[in-house]
């Protein structure tokens, strides 16, 4: 029987350890050249993306000093629940005091809390919380159906491809983001309104009945979508995935 000398064994363990550790190696740390006292969101919050997918727009945050002026060269780091990735995960603010990062959400449908933080001169952490929404299968299907059948009236915003009909309606529909309205309506009532039209809840007949056009699963998907996008969040919207 061959016997390994201990030194060879140690060498192997060491080799194994180094080969395994290359993934945990972090990017070279950035040295901030300036410090701010506040961090604010410039754009990119409250976006929708499918689970695991890149947000359509990058997240842009800005570091300001006491006077509210943008600070160049401050270090901004991003963090979120596991599964969320930032590209880059940390960076120094540019000449307009901003850092832009591309965000991919995690694999679970729901709300994700992203954190951007910087340190002030006294090394005190200053942080900003931003929420993004990941759509699972059901919500994605709901989004598709909403785009096809609902948003022309329910969304007041017009785009090149979709001119909004909102302003033409005598009784205004509620945009799906209107959490205060939708959170007060139970799933059963929402199902009734979608399937049997506005009059089912004593509301306007301008909301037609969709129960013969959409399947039960379609209606559930629409409700899942509405629950996912309403702001403030629905009661049963599920947990917010945040860094623990």
């Amino acid at each position: 029987m061959t016997r390994y000398s201990p030194s060879v064994l140690w060498l192997m363990i060491a080799a194994l350890a180094t080969s395994c550790s290359h993934r945990t190696e972090s990017a070279p740390t950035l040295k901030p050249t300036a410090f701010g006292t506040a961090i604010v969101e410039s754009s990119g919050g409250k976006q929708l993306a499918q689970t695991g997918a890149l947000l359509p727009q990058p997240l842009v945050v800005q570091v300001n000093d006491e006077q509210g002026n943008a600070v160049t060269g401050a270090l901004v780091e991003f963090a979120a629940a596991s599964g969320v990735t930032f590209d880059p995960a940390n960076a120094l603010t540019d000449s307009s005091g901003q850092v832009t990062t591309n965000v991919s959400l995690g694999g679970m449908a729901g709300r994700y809390q992203l954190m951007a933080f910087t340190f002030d001169k006294s090394h005190k952490k200053v942080e900003l919380k931003v929420e993004e929404i990941a759509l699972g299968y059901q919500q994605t299907l709901g989004q598709h159906l909403a785009d096809q059948y609902c948003q022309r009236c329910h969304n007041p915003e017009s785009s090149v491809e979709r001119v909004s009909n909102y302003d033409n309606l005598d009784v205004k529909p509620h945009p799906f983001t209107e959490g205060d309205t939708y959170n007060a309506i139970s799933d059963a009532d929402l199902t009734a309104a979608i399937s049997h039209g506005g009059p089912a809840l004593g509301k306007s007949a301008l909301m037609p009945a969709w129960g013969n056009t959409l399947s039960k699963a379609d209606v559930q998907a629409l409700i899942a979508y509405i629950r996912a996008v309403s702001d403030p969040p629905a009661r049963n919207a599920g947990p917010v995935y945040a860094k623990n």
Binding site: Y137, V160, T213
Partner: protein, 680 residues
């Protein structure tokens, strides 16, 4: 003599009794290994954790009752699934656990399939039979299937669902891109359901390219297609200056001139930018062609090429011939034959020629080509597989030019060569290959595309769906795609419809585009007189639409030919056009219909009947619907719009016969329109 202390061996096995005791102890201890391993197993740890978690919940009793300890397994022999994931993922089916954020206890989000019918690994990949976290999720022990990252999850839907699904936008986009960007010109993709994936781009033939453009433009285009048009789908082959010079030399020298490709220009060029712009607008060129505006936004359709710098590309004598009749140069083009008159051709050509970019060709100075350069260019054109996409005289379309991708989603990781620093997974490899193909090896021919990250993810998703499981699936589980239709209308009208490229926008019997209404049942739906007037002067039916039917300057004969064909052939078996009269409804019926229109059904939310009061902007304007549509069609439409046109945006109201009849009476009383408008 020095006393040697008893060795360890002597201490333990010195005398037989002691030896027996020691061996027995070792034996007992080794017997305990298996139960101990079982006791301290990960799944047991998670099951304990689950029980601790549910203890404090209000529905603890229900959850407790559902809980089953021990290793759980979903076994599906026809799918080859042995999934023990539910041993740790205990709460997957518990509807009440939606508020639980910690894994592995979360409820599975709603999907259209039952866990027991499909298991877990069919969608998520991973090692179903494993009972530890690492072995199940990661690719340890050289197992091939790590868990599929969430962003590619729709690829699993694509294993069974061969056509597009409303809930899988990423997969649908990926499949479209494979066809739209011509990937399948070079890579064969045999579909699991039979047949091969067909490209949907239309790379132009290069056999007469010298009629159309200059060698300088070809050179600039070869060097960087996106410098000419940001939306160009032609990839960048990263050619050296010399290679681009020689290839452009060959392509121009190889081009044969066709007499009809160009016209003799008028001696004096006319300039009418305003007239050109309005003709461009009236002809709805922007429905198919995009132009990049000053802000850098690309505005317009993507059926035809982007025209931002078209003036730097095409020769004026070719452009005029093209506008006169595009089918002369390219019989298969998606561009309609507009039947412009000479003045219109000159005006529009002048407008397009002004869309030039002097920077594009400013630095391109080519000496006349030598025979050696042309020969070298020919070799390069052949080596780079240009003929996979383009028709080039003297060069055959290469067979199997690039690796076949029919099973790419199951390619073993051991057969892949990864770039340093790249995670060793198949999705990362595919995405990396699409992103920067040439980095994998300097000699590779695959060109550089300009895909966004989202596009690369969707392409990867579509490619991962092409795997062994998809190929080996029992037919009972597959959901085939709608087979592509090659419908062609017959006779003289059919020729006219090809000439007018109706199918670039309209769909008939499953064939054609989706920009404009499906015309499969048009003959049942509209009145003949209206259709005649519409061809002569296409009006706007939907106020909110920016894309509209252009006017084709058709002769009366052509209009009659088309109208007769549409009215006779495109008839729905469900609608008897003559079953209901076009007029003569009682005033009572009309009045009742009006009440239903504005009351019970509130149609004015989407439609306009009274231009002063109604504002609905979604459906077509109904001001003159009584002169446009047949009563029988309107009636059937009221009863079930989706039965006549699948996917129609109008909800099915499940109307009673009486309501439908009254609404039909009201709508048919809305007369006027095209005829009157035409008289003015």
């Amino acid at each position: 003599m020095n006393e040697k202390p008893p060795s360890l061996w002597q201490k333990l096995f010195g005398d037989p009794v002691r030896a027996f005791g020691v061996v027995s102890l070792i034996f007992l201890a080794s017997l305990a290994i298996a139960p101990a391993k079982n006791f301290f197993s990960e799944w047991r740890h998670y099951q304990h954790g689950y029980l601790r978690m549910i203890r404090n919940r209000s529905e603890a009793n229900t959850l407790q009752r559902h809980f089953q300890g021990g290793i759980q397994q979903i076994w599906l022999s026809d799918l080859g699934v042995v999934d023990r994931c539910t041993s740790c993922h205990v709460g997957l089916k518990e509807a009440s656990l939606t508020d639980v954020a910690t894994q592995p206890f979360r409820k599975h989000p709603a999907i259209p399939h039952q866990l027991d019918q499909f298991g877990c690994t069919v969608c998520h990949r991973g090692q179903g039979a494993a009972t530890t976290v690492t072995e199940a999720h990661n690719s340890t022990l050289a197992w091939e299937q790590p868990i599929l990252p969430a962003k590619y999850i729709e690829s699993s839907c694509g294993q069974c669902h061969r056509g597009p699904l409303p809930g899988t936008p990423v997969l649908n986009q990926g499949r479209n891109l494979l066809s739209r960007y011509g990937c399948v010109h070079c890579h064969t993709v045999k579909l699991p359901g039979g047949g091969t994936m067909k490209p949907t781009d239309d790379p132009p033939s290069l056999e007469h390219i010298a009629d159309k453009t200059t060698r300088e433009w070809v050179y600039a285009w070869l060097k960087d297609p996106q410098a000419y048009a940001v939306t160009a789908t032609m990839p960048n082959f990263k050619l050296s200056d010399d290679d681009a010079r020689d290839m452009s030399a060959f392509l121009i020298a190889n081009s044969a001139s066709l007499p009809g490709d160009t016209v003799t220009l008028a001696a004096k060029a006319s300039s009418d930018p305003a007239g050109g712009a309005s003709l461009y607008g009236e002809s709805f060129c922007a429905s198919c062609h995009a132009v990049q505006n000053a802000a850098g936004n690309v505005v317009g359709g993507d059926v035809g090429p982007e025209l931002t710098r078209v003036g730097s590309k095409v020769k004026p004598e070719w452009l005029q011939a093209w506008l006169r009749n595009p089918r002369g140069y390219d019989a298969e083009t998606a561009m309609p034959h507009y039947r412009f008159n000479d003045g219109q051709v000159v005006t529009l050509a002048g407008f397009l020629e002004a869309k030039a970019d002097s920077d594009l060709l400013a630095n391109v100075h080519l000496e006349p080509a030598t025979p050696a350069q042309i020969a070298h260019g020919k070799r390069l054109v052949s080596d780079y597989g240009c003929a996979s996409c383009h028709e080039i005289a003297g060069i055959k379309k290469p067979e199997n030019f690039a690796p076949e991708l029919s099973r790419i989603g199951s390619k073993p990781v051991t057969q892949l060569i990864f770039l340093p620093g790249m995670p060793h997974t198949l999705p990362d490899y595919i995405a990396g290959k699409i992103k920067q193909p040439r980095t994998f090896s300097p000699g590779l021919k695959m060109p550089q595309y300009t895909f966004t990250t989202a596009q690369i993810d969707s392409l990867t998703t579509a490619l991962l769906a092409l795997n062994d499981r998809a190929a080996a699936l029992p037919p009972s589980l597959t959901v085939p795609a709608t087979p592509p239709s090659d419908y062609q209308p017959a006779g003289k009208a059919g020729k006219l419809m090809t000439d007018l490229a109706c199918f670039s926008c309209h769909r008939i019997n499953g064939h054609g585009g989706d920009m404009a209404p499906d015309l499969t049942w048009e003959g049942s739906s509209v009145q003949r007189e209206w259709l005649v007037q519409f061809f002569k002067n296409p009006g706007t039916l939907r106020p909110a639409l920016i894309r509209r039917m252009p006017r084709f300057n058709l002769s009366d004969g052509d209009v009659n030919e088309l109208t007769d064909y549409i009215m006779t052939v495109y008839q729905s078996p469900a609608v008897d056009r003559d079953a209901m009269p076009l007029s003569g409804y009682s005033q009572g019926q009309v009045e009742l219909g009006k009440q239903l229109f504005y009351g019970k059904y509130s149609c004015q939310g989407c439609h306009i009947v009274d231009t002063k009061a109604d504002k609905g902007y979604i459906g077509p304007t109904l001001t003159h619907v009584g002169s446009r549509m047949t009563a029988a069609w309107v009636y059937q439409w009221m009863k079930n719009p989706q039965a006549l046109r699948p996917g129609a945006g109008e909800p099915n109201r499940a109307m009673s016969d009486e309501d439908a009849r009254a609404l039909t009476a009201f709508l048919m009383s809305q007369k006027g329109g095209a005829k009157e408008a035409a008289k003015k």
